[in-house]
């Protein structure tokens, strides 16, 4: 079974530039999550989709972050404009059903904002 795919693995940009991350979940997984992990901290949930609907985006900074999940499969997370404090690893995860069970994570996309 193929795992959760993410790209790019690494991205360096200057502040005020924009960046987009892509995630392809495990086939058949209904729920998709984006987490932000700052160095030395635990993952923080940004947004949770079930199929192509948003379940929770309460911690997504909507003035600069946006996310979509087209056709309930792939997802993109965009940051525009980026700030220094957005430097982090962006982790995508997916799970069966409506969530609350085991999450399968991708390797993450490491963003450095200069």
């Amino acid at each position: 079974e193929a795992g959760v795919a993410q790209s790019p693995r690494y991205k360096i940009i200057e502040k005020r530039q924009s960046v987009a991350f892509w995630c392809n979940p495990i086939s058949g997984h209904a729920t998709l999550y984006w987490y932000q992990q700052i160095l030395g901290q635990g993952p923080k949930l940004l947004i949770q989709f079930q199929n192509n609907g948003v379940v929770d985006d309460s911690q997504l900074p909507k003035d600069r972050f946006s996310a979509e999940r087209l056709k309930g499969v792939d997802s993109t997370l965009k940051i525009q404009p980026a700030k220094l404090e957005d430097s982090a690893v962006y982790l995508c995860a997916s799970s069966w059903g409506q969530g609350g069970g085991e999450l399968f994570f991708g390797e993450g996309s490491r963003l450095t904002v200069l």
């Binding site: 901290q41 635990g42 995860a93 999450l103 991708g106 993450g108």
Partner: protein, 110 residues
């Protein structure tokens, strides 16, 4: 928001010793999960314990859950250098939202 808090933040032991990590949380849960993260990699699920369970085993892992104290512990027996990683507890909230703690960084020296 962070739900779980792990203790200790860092732990260094010798190979063959046991490692115990603790997690405390604040609200009622349906289940509690433990994940491992090797440096520079994604998280890997280790074990899930439901709120009506008190103890669960998986290979060298033993997890306990005390809902009255809102706490859980993860025991790794006979640790190996390959167990070196960060370990996170995660609790589910309404809607299936999984909230992670800050993690325990385990170092196992050969």
């Amino acid at each position: 928001s962070q739900q779980g808090e792990e203790d200790p933040q860092a732990l260094s032991i010798q190979e063959g010793e046991n490692a115990t990590m603790n997690c405390s949380y604040k609200t009622s849960i349906n289940n509690l999960q433990w994940y491992r993260q090797n440096s520079g990699r994604g998280l890997v699920h280790l074990i899930l314990i439901r709120s009506n369970e008190r103890e669960k085993h998986s290979g060298r892992l033993r997890v306990t859950l005390d809902t009255s104290k809102k706490s859980s512990s993860l025991l790794i027996t006979a640790s190996r250098a390959a167990d070196t990683a960060s370990y996170f507890c995660a609790t589910d909230e309404e809607g299936g939202k999984l909230i992670f703690g800050q993690g325990t960084e385990l170092s196992v020296k050969p």
